[in-house]
Amino acid sequence: MNNLNSLQYFLPELFLSASILIIIIVDLLLKKDKKIITAYLSVLAVLVAFFLAYRQYNYAFTSLFEGMIVLDSFAVYFKVLTALSTIIVIFISMPAFRRHSEYYILLLVVTLGMFLMVEVNDLLMIIIAMEMVGIISYVLAGFNKFNMKSNEASLKYVLYGAASTGVMAFGFSYIYGLTGHTNLFAIQQAIVGHSLQPLPVFIAFVMVVAGLGYKIAMVPFHFWVPDVYEGAPTPITAFLSVGPKAAGIALFIRFLITVVAHPASQTTFIQNVQIQAPLLLAVLAVVTMTLGNVSALGQKNIKRMLGYSAIAHVGYMMMALVVFNTRGFTAIMFYMVVYMFMNFGAFWVVQSMTPHLGSEDISAYKGLGYRHPLTAVAMAVFMLSLTGIPPFAGFIGKVYLFAAIIKQNWYTLAVIGVINGVISLYYYAYVIKVMFLDRDEEIKAISVPLYDRVLLWLLLIPVLALGVYWGPLIDLAHNSIGFFFGN
């Protein structure tokens, strides 16, 4: 579709871009103590973008802007998800970030980048969309610029990010050189049509996986994760482990389906280039979750622990990538939503409790179950849900992930996954133990503002509700990916 006609299918992104410009100008007109208004405007803007994106759900598959991006229900599913994650993170940030409107402007730019990431269909757009999310994330990670840890987080993020983008762009240059196209569909045709040599395609594939793997914090491209997650402002840590990661996984899935999958079936990898994608992905999944879980065991800082746990969860989701069928992708898409709520929940507890506890160490949570029971119980629910214990949402998500791989006879992978779940129980349960079983002699009750409690409930309810009634969401995920496969 040509550029002018594409605009009508591009409303959420257009609206977001316009909002960014308007909010920058509004910020210049506001007085210093009124900057929080930009946060309200940002929430409003993302909400509108959320509904505009949601309305696109029933559109048929459309190729937009001369094939630069495509609109399908898969993209819409992830657009809605990432918009939701931005809304949540703005609500989480509002109490702490009142002085700087740049924070909210940058979050909107990231959201636009994530929208583009989930619908790209061209190598050039992949790089631009990923850089849009990446570059702004570097700034956000270092947003507390007088905090040395925040600076360190930002710097490490930049260095790793630049290197991984470079590697990925190099891989793209191979793909372009081999096929002569930047459009993903055309590349697929070229790979199937020509008899390409396996080695260059394999190396290019590995390079692209490196770039995408960095974005989703996959081992061995995870070195930045612990330091960045510990040093970045807590809301940004939560956001990075949900929003950009979901967009990265969506891009990964799209790249696999459009480029690496065989066009006839779309559920098997291309055979004539022998890139051994399933085995490679399986090994990466195992390494990712094992390393994440084992490293999380000894952590004293709760943000660092959650950072390693985020790596482990990427590993779980990658398991379902290995089987490469509708069932697996549905499980990932469902899990991503569940993970968003429980992870944001855990980070919100950290964010709202840190001023009261005075520290981000796990030991500071001692006796929280008696100082503020609601928060502690909610935290316990998030921890159990992250472990994957019934009757919480995390359990359902894990069941779908494991069902997808067992159905395709990846038994070893499933067993390793279960062992990992057991390991993770140790460090998640440790937090619960500290909160409820250790107690001081005198209990100093904490008074939590109404805003904090309401937000806590809003994050808690989906985790509880999806644990008992998950049908509609799984159907939605299934339909979205089914659309992709053209059935």
Binding site: S17, L21, I24, I25, D27, L28
Partner: protein
């Protein structure tokens, strides 16, 4: 494309001229080694402290802003080349591009990042005394 041979020629010529001048002065100059000659030249006075000083942070901010608009200018070149064949469409497309970046300019301008010197009235009391 042959234009680049001219560029190359200029490059070689430029380097030659510099080399020849330096060589000439080297041949012609009288040479007396003195200690003072190895001191960095500072307007004829004896330099104080090290030659290496920490630069003002302002340079960095300005350079950052410069790069952003440098990239913008870069896109103007190909646009200008095809402008007469594409006409109005090209004009509108480029205006959108520039308008978005103009918001950025407005931002740095209004926030005072372009101000080189912000006089701080630290010596206000002295100024007053002088006025009396």
């Amino acid at each position: 494309m042959t234009g680049f041979y001219i560029v190359f020629l200029f490059l070689v010529l430029g380097m030659l001229i510099v080399a020849v001048t330096l060589l000439l002065s080297r041949l012609l100059q009288p040479r007396k080694r003195e200690k003072d000659k190895f001191i960095p030249y500072e307007c004829g006075i004896v330099p104080e402290g090290e030659a290496w000083i920490q630069f003002n942070n302002r340079f960095y901010v300005i350079a950052l802003i410069f790069i952003i608009f440098d990239v913008e200018v870069l896109f103007l070149f190909p646009w200008a080349v095809v402008f007469d064949t594409m006409g109005m469409v090209a004009f509108v497309e480029m205006m959108i591009f520039i308008a978005i970046l103009l918001v950025g300019l407005a931002y740095v301008w209004a926030k005072g990042d372009l101000n080189w010197v912000k006089p701080k009235p630290r010596l206000a009391h002295l100024a007053k005394k002088k006025g009396e």
